[in-house]
């Protein structure tokens, strides 16, 4: 991992020294040079990302304890931001949230598009497939599904109006969400025997 080309000198503190690289080849001016630099960087970064996100081994030369602290911090952030983006689901799972999310996060990587909202949608999908998705989670999923399509990389905002509905057996109600671009989300519930419109 150590780069044999190495330093332009001792650790620099003076601004102008960092800019003056006359003693090294200016590789960025060549496309080939930049492609090489990208390839080298890609390998290094993938190794680190795997170590932090997928429980992979710390690459050579890193302080393992520091990486461990960083990995924990990243995991907590993932968990915390999903709970914040899906408060109904988090509240419904209550003390079960941590264990369920741990199990999910161990097998499903963070989606590329849509951040914690997309991560939570994937978590809700995993819960439905691996046990129970609480009613609060189903309601929140409706709202997300009305506004977004789910693709391979995560959530993509819909360009056209969409509606989603679900029957919640436990509370005996039909819940729906309608989304119209530039207008927003509207949703309602039909309880057996009674209309209620919520926006």
């Amino acid at each position: 991992m150590a780069d044999a080309r190495s330093a332009t000198g001792p650790s620099v503190h003076h601004r102008s020294d960092a800019v003056d690289r006359s003693d090294t080849v200016d590789r960025s001016d060549t496309v080939a040079g930049r492609v090489d630099a990208r390839a080298r960087l890609a390998g290094l970064q993938l190794d680190l990302a795997r170590a932090l996100m997928a429980g992979g081994q710390a690459p050579a030369g890193f302080d393992a304890a520091r990486l461990s602290a960083a990995a924990l911090s990243l995991y907590r952030k993932r968990s915390r931001t999903v709970a914040a983006a899906w408060p109904g689901l988090a509240a419904a799972l209550n003390t079960e949230f941590r264990a369920r999310f741990d199990a999910y996060a161990a097998v499903v990587p963070l989606p590329g598009d849509g951040g914690p909202l997309a991560d939570g949608r994937a978590f809700a999908r995993w819960l439905a497939a691996n046990g129970t998705l609480p009613a609060a989670g189903r309601r929140e999923a409706l709202a997300v599904d009305a506004r977004f399509t789910t693709g391979r990389h995560g959530l993509t905002a819909r360009r056209w109006p969409a509606a989603r509905a679900a029957w919640l057996a436990q509370s005996r109600e039909l819940v729906w969400a309608v989304w119209v671009p530039h207008v927003g989300l509207r949703w309602g519930r039909l309880h057996l025997g009674r209309w209620r419109l919520t926006s």
Binding site: A2, D3, S11, V19, L41, A69, L74, A157
Partner: protein, 285 residues
């Protein structure tokens, strides 16, 4: 009135829905910063943001997902979204980070440090140039906090930041708490760091709080700003004119009064530093 072509922003804060009322009621804010990814292209701007704009408050979009430090070039769709947002907000600049968030299709959900090598400088500069070409307004880049360091660095953090900013010719969003965090966790002198970076490129400043856990300082944005960070802010203001400085708070939101106190403390630290600054020509470089 601008400082070397950069707008005078004044006192600011990171806009969050939880702080919307407190922000609306604060009369002396010159700018707010919004998380670019929270404002979808097809949705109308949140009413509070529109209200701030109509009051003359500057709104700056701040991205976290461009991943300019990745080996891959920035995604044109993400660049287009940021550009579009800048126009919709009539923003004088946009900001992002010197960091990577994804590698080989694996998302990390967090800003990670790039190796401090000339390879990284080359790649970052190329990525930044691609970003600049796609953006309608100037770009400012933020230094991040990291709990760990890459092995085999070619240079220290100040030199790396300087190399990237100078070669890419972009402005600096200096996160003063990240300087404090890294100096503390990675063992360098924060004041020497300030002396070694191109402060003439300063666009604005982030001020935030964190907490210590297991001997490491974590940049949580969910705790009060430590006194040492305010002192570092004063030291910065002693060294250079600061066009704008803002409070960042992302969680464990305190009562409005506590937020206002921290904004007041930012203003006080800037004033304290400025009063110590002697008139002189910029002696750097």
């Amino acid at each position: 009135m601008s400082t070397g072509g950069r707008p005078r922003l004044g006192l600011g804060i990171g806009w969050r829905p939880e702080l919307a009322l407190a922000i609306e009621r604060r009369g002396d804010l010159g700018f707010v910063e919004v998380m670019a990814e929270s404002l979808a292209a097809d949705d109308p701007l949140p009413a509070p943001i529109v209200a701030l704009r109509s009051r003359g408050v500057t709104v700056i979009p701040h991205g976290v997902t461009l991943s300019l430090g990745s080996a891959e070039p920035p995604d044109p769709r993400r660049l287009a979204a940021l550009a579009d947002l800048a126009l919709r907000l009539d923003a004088p600049l946009v900001s992002e980070h010197i960091a990577f968030v994804r590698a080989g299709g694996l998302e990390t959900g967090h800003l990670l440090p790039v190796p401090r090598t000339w390879d990284s400088v080359d790649v970052l500069v190329a990525n930044i140039q691609a970003a600049k070409a796609a953006l309608p307004v100037p770009l400012a880049l933020e230094n991040i906090a990291a709990l760990f360091e890459w092995p085999a660095a070619d240079m220290d953090e100040a030199a790396f930041l300087t190399a990237v900013l100078e070669r890419a010719d972009v402005a600096l969003l200096l996160d003063i708490e990240n300087v404090y965090a890294n100096a503390r966790n990675l063992g360098f002198d924060a004041l020497a760091f300030l002396d070694a970076i191109p402060l003439d490129r300063l666009a604005y400043v982030h001020v935030a709080g964190g907490a210590v856990e297991d001997g490491l300082y974590h940049d949580t944005h969910a705790h009060g700003v430590p006194p040492a960070v305010f002192e570092l802010l004063a030291a910065l203001a002693q060294r250079t004119d600061v066009p704008g400085a803002m409070l960042e708070r992302d969680g464990h939101f305190p009562p409005d009064a506590a937020v206002y106190n921290e904004l007041d403390a930012i203003a006080a630290a800037l004033a304290r530093g400025a009063s110590r600054r002697t008139s002189r020509d910029d002696g750097y470089g």
